[in-house]
Symmetry: C2
Subunit: 232 residues, 2 copies
Amino acid sequence: MGAIYGIGVGPGDPALLTLRAAEVLQRVSAVMAPRATREGGSLALSIARPHLPASCAVLEAVFPMTEERAVLEQAWQDAAAALLARARQGEAVAFLTLGDALLYSTWSYLLRAIRRQDAEIEVVTIPGITAMSACAAAVNRPLAEGRAPLLVWPDAPPTDLAPLLEIAPNLVFMKAARHLRRLADMAEARGAAAVAVQRCTLPEQRVIGDLRDDPGRPDYFTTVLLQAEGGR
Amino acid sequence: MGAIYGIGVGPGDPALLTLRAAEVLQRVSAVMAPRATREGGSLALSIARPHLPASCAVLEAVFPMTEERAVLEQAWQDAAAALLARARQGEAVAFLTLGDALLYSTWSYLLRAIRRQDAEIEVVTIPGITAMSACAAAVNRPLAEGRAPLLVWPDAPPTDLAPLLEIAPNLVFMKAARHLRRLADMAEARGAAAVAVQRCTLPEQRVIGDLRDDPGRPDYFTTVLLQAEGGR
């Protein structure tokens, strides 16, 4: 029987792949790596590459950078169909995602598209190391401790941190590159500590200890960890 | 030069160790596995064990189940001193934690105690797979998607979910075993979907699709994923 694996390959460092992911990659007949961003797709594939059999096929999957739901839906349905065609013939195939497979990942949408087309096929998700865990490790700072909640914010930060900090003293802002100065101002106003990490675990990783330092070209993979007083 | 590694060994399945963690474990002279809960310590050690050299020492570290800060602080300082004594002699030593190393983990406290005693020694954190990522994978459900925030709640749930859901439609409740029925009621009142996973990725893993099903003895490792309408 065939199966479709959704594999979180971690934030970038190939050594942050799990043993389970490496084992599965060694026996798939095809992988699909999304090209959601210019860098994204090839990075996920390059992390997986050393583990793939020489005969492994690489399936095309371009998910356009659009918010048009119909366009995206079609892309997910096409990708699901391509994976299903092989799995139904008994092949093991894998869909690769950066970070964790079910946290702000294309795999979530694809999983739904697969299930819409086939309720029976075996679908296995293999979790991956999140960017936020890797960023915290890079700066040796806790994401959250004790009884204090953690809030992960994948969108542009709001104009006021107060409502967020009332709920959780530990905040993670993803894709935060264009908001560093504003986050610095808001953190300072609240007596919160903040640090940014760009391209975490990649050779070009950069830690921005003062968010007012000009990071140069905004980088898609920029995470900010912010902790209010008493967050521990 | 010696080094102290803080290693997240993942939620339980030994195959969810990262390649990097496995590589480091193969060359440490000593590991310390905390016994914060009766199960916790030995589980982290059993995950790491197959990778450890035969000569590897296992260091005692009992962190009592108390909220008395002075007692805990002494335990962390003692553990830090034991690791530092070896690292200063050039050894590589590791502290093991379940899940991720810096998300609700003893390593956060130990890291601080180490830094207080020694500002120079090399301290390396290796991130791990979080329980929530593993739980999401176990039930093939996204933790969060698109622009919708994710809130992780490590404590007893509040009496009203409304303030939380106003901030984030995706909620994760950790150590939620004693609150399943109440979470079920609150989820229903808000039209939210909820699922619980106990002892995720362990042989005795149990998925509780209806939180009103009696789970029997409350288990420390119980995670609830809750998603409000429009959470996607």
